[in-house]
């Protein structure tokens, strides 16, 4: 059967490099996402440190204006699209099927495609570094600065195409997780029995599938402007309105903020009960608060545009909506505190990071409410106060939450514990470094320092605080080094984790660490929100494999990486087309063919012959 499909037989082996390239196992894809995100985290972090060196003193000439602009553009783009989102995806992938009692996601090959599109898009964008220069238009790329009239360099083309490809991959992942969570739950795992992390994943996935199309369109329109001479953002020549870009971008961009923070909220909502030794307080409220945040998140985009001259009515409406979104957020914080109230709190490393999340995220939320007050925003917009605000939300929030997740689930993922000593040191160094870096930025903002300036003069008197901030940034870097040391140490001599090292309540802790590739030898039936706490009568020891052997899992496949390669090289062809038309067209044609051929190969891909035999033997 495989023969008439063509060149590639369906792979069987899960060993070695090819095993990883062709894998469709959600756990392996999760690890791929996680490792990639961590590498980009280091890259984005180095970009941040270079900026901090430049800003440590006035009139510095460490880097020039163009380099600095590229640094903050790539720092923002990297941290949002190549770090926090894929880090979230790493947890979605590894954990959601385990937590809802599934063998895999709904569409394993689509899952692999999502990853390959993400990594190829990220590589393509960073490739601009070798070809031209890093993109330097800011991470939200306001038109008309991004049109070819004002940005001659092809770096913006790399930015647009890289983002577009990553966006397609993310949207595909969004579909996958919506369906996985709605459709693949174990018997008895009703929606209202799901742990908070899969709940937030479901909400984030809905946000992704509805928020990414406006970005896709915005990027497409910009792409057409830059490549084919359309007029969508041509203000001078065609009378276009530059605010169109801002509206499209922020209709995507604000839900994106919740795409970045809700996974961390889910992690914290699962970590807190474990280390408080009691259930989450007001489970239903926390779930619905998440849903309300997501829903309102589509109606507040213009608060990024209060100073653009929207008109009084629109401004007032968006200010009101923005304040409204503070309510469910506040409710979540109170519920987390109430979860700890009356508990027996164990200050393990994941708990410390979760506490760091709650306190720092709350401060970020409060400064967020401050700029919902429009008059205040006219003074704060585009200053370091905003930079401080969103770092409190995205670093103090997302990164602290995700790090809590790393320390919490690392034993499950690898079967080994991380060191508590180094972990606690990591927390304190990061917590102090974080506050040293970002707390003074509030003051810099109040003192009028605009964001995205590559230099400032002595007379502006921002030098002392900036030096302090830069020192803080290096302390954060030190804390990341501690994390790396901890992981390396654990790989060499970490103690075995066992199934449930934290005595936690949810399903993923009912199977060995690391989990076997089929997850559950036998699919569990769930009867409560805390299956490992509530059901004393049932041992949680996983039953042995049934006599007829391992469950049949989807076979590995070449097609996801082939399709992703085809799509990426079409974008590559477009870039070549800019320079040499015919070569570009040739590359586009060939890679377009590879992509379409990949889709057909995918659709008609049989199960591998070896496993087909195995299946038949069972029937």
């Amino acid at each position: 059967m495989a023969a008439n499909i063509g060149i590639l037989k369906r792979p069987v082996s899960t060993e070695g490099v090819w095993g990883w390239i062709t894998t469709v196992d959600h756990k392996r894809i999760g690890i791929l996402y996680g490792v990639s995100a961590f590498i980009f985290f280091l890259i984005g972090g180095i970009e941040a440190l270079l900026m901090r060196v430049q800003l440590a003193q006035p009139d510095s000439t460490f880097v020039d204006a163009g380099t600095f602009n590229a640094l903050f553009t790539m720092h923002g783009t990297t941290m949002v699209f190549m770090v926090v989102m894929p880090a979230g995806a790493a947890f979605f992938n590894f954990l959601v099927p385990l937590m809802i009692g599934a063998r895999d996601v709904a569409f394993p090959r689509l899952n692999a495609l999502s990853y390959w599109l993400f990594i190829f898009g990220a590589i393509l964008m960073n490739f601009s570094f070798f070809k031209a220069a890093f993109p330097d238009v800011g991470w939200f790329g306001y038109a008309p600065l991004t049109t070819s009239e004002y940005t001659l360099s092809s770096s913006t083309d790399y930015w647009v195409l890289g983002l577009q490809i990553m966006g397609i991959g993310t949207t595909a992942a969004g579909f996958n997780f919506v369906i996985t969570i709605l459709n693949m739950r174990a018997p008895g795992m009703t929606l209202m029995r799901m742990p908070l992390f899969p709940w937030m994943t479901l909400i984030v996935s809905f946000l992704i599938i509805f928020a990414f199309p406006p970005l896709t369109i915005a990027l497409t329109l910009l792409l057409f402007d830059r490549f084919f001479g359309t007029n969508f953002f041509d203000t001078a020549g065609a009378g276009a309105d530059p605010l169109l870009w801002q509206h499209l971008f922020w209709i995507f961009g604000h839900p994106e903020v919740y795409i970045l923070i809700l996974p961390a909220m889910g992690i914290v909502s699962d970590v807190l009960p474990t280390f408080s030794r009691k259930p989450l307080f007001g489970y239903t409220t926390v779930v619905f608060a998440g849903a309300v945040i997501a829903f309102l998140g589509f109606g507040v985009w213009a608060h990024h545009m209060f100073t653009t001259g929207l008109g009084a009515w629109a401004t007032a409406a968006f200010a009101g909506a923005t304040m409204a979104i503070g309510v469910p957020t506040g409710v979540k914080v109170f519920n987390w505190l109430a979860t700890m109230w009356g508990g027996s709190l164990q200050f393990k490393t994941p708990m410390l990071f979760a506490l760091g999340f709650i306190s720092m995220f709350m401060l970020g939320g409060l400064s967020g409410v401050m700029h919902a007050a429009v008059p205040v925003d006219t003074q704060q917009q585009d200053t370091y106060f905003i930079v401080a605000h969103f770092h409190y939300v995205l670093f103090g929030g997302s990164i602290f939450g995700l790090t809590a997740g790393i320390y919490y689930w690392f034993p499950k993922m690898t079967g080994r514990m991380l060191s508590e000593r180094i972990g606690k040191l990591h927390f304190w160094v990061m917590f102090i470094g974080f506050n040293m870096t970002f707390m003074p930025m509030h003051i810099l903002g109040v003192l009028g320092m605009p964001r995205r300036v590559y230099t400032y003069s002595v007379e502006q008197n921002w030098a002392g605080l900036n030096l302090f901030v830069s020192v803080g940034a290096f302390i954060i870097a030190l804390s990341i080094l501690l994390l790396i040391i901890n992981i390396v140490r654990s790989a060499r001599k970490g103690e075995a984790a066992g199934m449930n090292p934290w005595a936690a309540a949810t399903l993923e802790w009912a199977i060995p660490s690391p989990p076997p590739h089929y997850n559950f030898a036998v699919i569990p039936t769930v009867r409560s929100q805390h299956p490992l706490w509530d059901e004393e009568a049932n041992a949680v020891e996983p039953p042995p494999l049934p006599a007829h052997g391992e469950p049949h899992m989807p076979d590995p496949s070449y097609w996801p990486i082939v399709v992703a390669f085809g799509v990426t090289m079409v974008a590559g062809g477009l870039l070549i087309w800019q320079a040499t038309t015919w070569v570009g067209l040739f590359v586009i044609a060939v890679s377009g063919f590879i992509g379409i051929r990949g889709i057909y190969g995918w659709v008609f891909e049989p199960v591998a012959e070896e496993s087909a035999e195995r299946v038949h033997a069972h029937h």
Binding site: G66, V331, G342, V376, Q379, L447, N461, G464
Partner: protein
């Protein structure tokens, strides 16, 4: 491993790592407190510095109104933040794991949850009311005697056009240093020539973007104090965004009127044969291709340089207007700031290489002398 029901500390024996000691926690909290105190002290030190772009020293009615709301939200947010952090610290201390203490298995409490939904709503309504009132206030028509100005953003400098104050009732144009009289309302409309910029003078008026293809209305403001205030472009607009600054001089009525009169009067030609006169020739032959000086030239590609000798700064507010700075600027602008890749960019005039120099060093000195001589009479 068997049942993990978390009914007490005894059941967590399966956990292999040591638990935190209360002493550690107390020490930790103390360390945090010291850290917070140090941070506050630091803030006090830096806030007392003279920072010209500070948003906390309002010098107009508009920024004063904003400042009042600003203080209100800062205080409200700080109180909320402090209370929540204090509650959190209390909970962490009170319910730390210790022998003989077991977790209470509560699941929720509707009354409590309704309470902490309603409280944020009340606080937010309290913030929303002044916000809405302020927004409604911005729609008011300008005063009858308001000074009407059109500000235009360019990559990377500001152009200011005073409606009807120029020669023959035309606009009176100046650049990078705005002059307004104290106590009179200023009504500014904002436009942009190329990309989006943002007009911001923290002590006089909050920012509003300058968007190409649109005419935005800046909040009306009445300066309350004579002095010089710093402005800065606040929307990323390309390589030299950081260097796109400007000044606002709030003058007495008499000084402002004298300045307008002088702007409109034809300049007195420099004494024949003087350095300034030779500089004027250089200006006419080179600079006049792009720059206007009323009564001398008319091109508006670059900033208007009438009465340049009275400006405190050059290069969009980035350098003091000294002879050396001006000389360096005229010689090779590229040493000082990034410039556009277009033909509209200011050329490099002198680098000491006869093959590329358009001017000699002497000519640069002459034109500097000429520009510095353009002063108020």
């Amino acid at each position: 491993m068997r049942n993990n029901r978390p009914t007490g500390a005894g059941n967590t024996n399966t956990v292999t790592t040591p638990t935190a000691h209360p002493q550690n926690l107390a020490a930790t909290l103390r360390r945090l407190l010291y850290f917070a105190l140090a941070a506050v002290a630091l803030v006090a030190v830096f806030a007392s510095c003279d920072t010209p772009l500070t948003t906390f020293e309002p010098r107009s009615d508009a920024t004063q109104r904003v400042h009042t709301i600003y203080i209100f939200v800062i205080v409200a947010a700080s109180i909320v933040g402090f209370l929540v952090l204090a509650a959190m610290a209390y909970i962490l201390w009170k319910y730390r794991e210790r022998p003989g203490h077991t977790a209470q298995q509560t699941h929720g409490n509707t009354t409590l949850e309704i309470t902490w939904t309603v409280i944020p709503i009340l606080i937010l309504v309290a913030i929303a009311i002044p916000t809405i009132v302020w927004i409604a206030g911005t729609t008011a028509e300008p005063d009858e005697d308001a000074l009407h100005i059109e500000a235009v953003g360019h990559q990377w400098w500001f152009e200011f056009r005073y409606s009807g104050l120029g020669p023959d009732g035309e606009d009176l144009v100046t650049a990078n240093e705005l002059r307004v009289p104290v106590g009179r309302q200023v009504a500014i409309t904002l436009e942009a020539k190329d990309v989006i910029h943002s007009f911001w003078v923290p002590q006089l008026v909050g920012k509003t973007d300058m968007v190409p293809g649109r005419t935005n209305i800046l909040e009306k403001f009445t300066p309350t104090e004579i002095g010089t205030f710093y402005g800065q472009c606040a929307e990323f607009c390309g390589s030299a965004h950081a260097l796109m600054r400007f000044r606002v001089h709030v003058d007495s009525h008499a000084d402002f009127d004298r300045w307008v009169e002088n702007m409109n009067a034809d300049p007195v030609p420099p004494e024949a044969g003087s350095v300034e006169a030779r500089g004027a020739t250089v200006f006419t032959n080179f600079c006049a291709r792009c720059h206007t000086i009323y009564g001398v030239s008319t091109e508006e590609i670059g900033p208007n340089l009438t009465l340049f000798g009275d400006r405190a700064t050059l290069g969009a507010g980035i350098l003091d207007s000294t002879d050396e700075n001006l000389k360096a600027w005229v010689s090779n602008i590229r040493d000082i700031k990034p410039v556009l890749d277009t033909t509209n960019a200011m050329p490099t005039f002198y680098v000491g290489d006869p093959l590329v120099d358009q001017l000699t060093e002497a000519q640069v000195d002459q034109v500097v002398a000429y520009l510095k001589s353009l002063k108020l009479r």
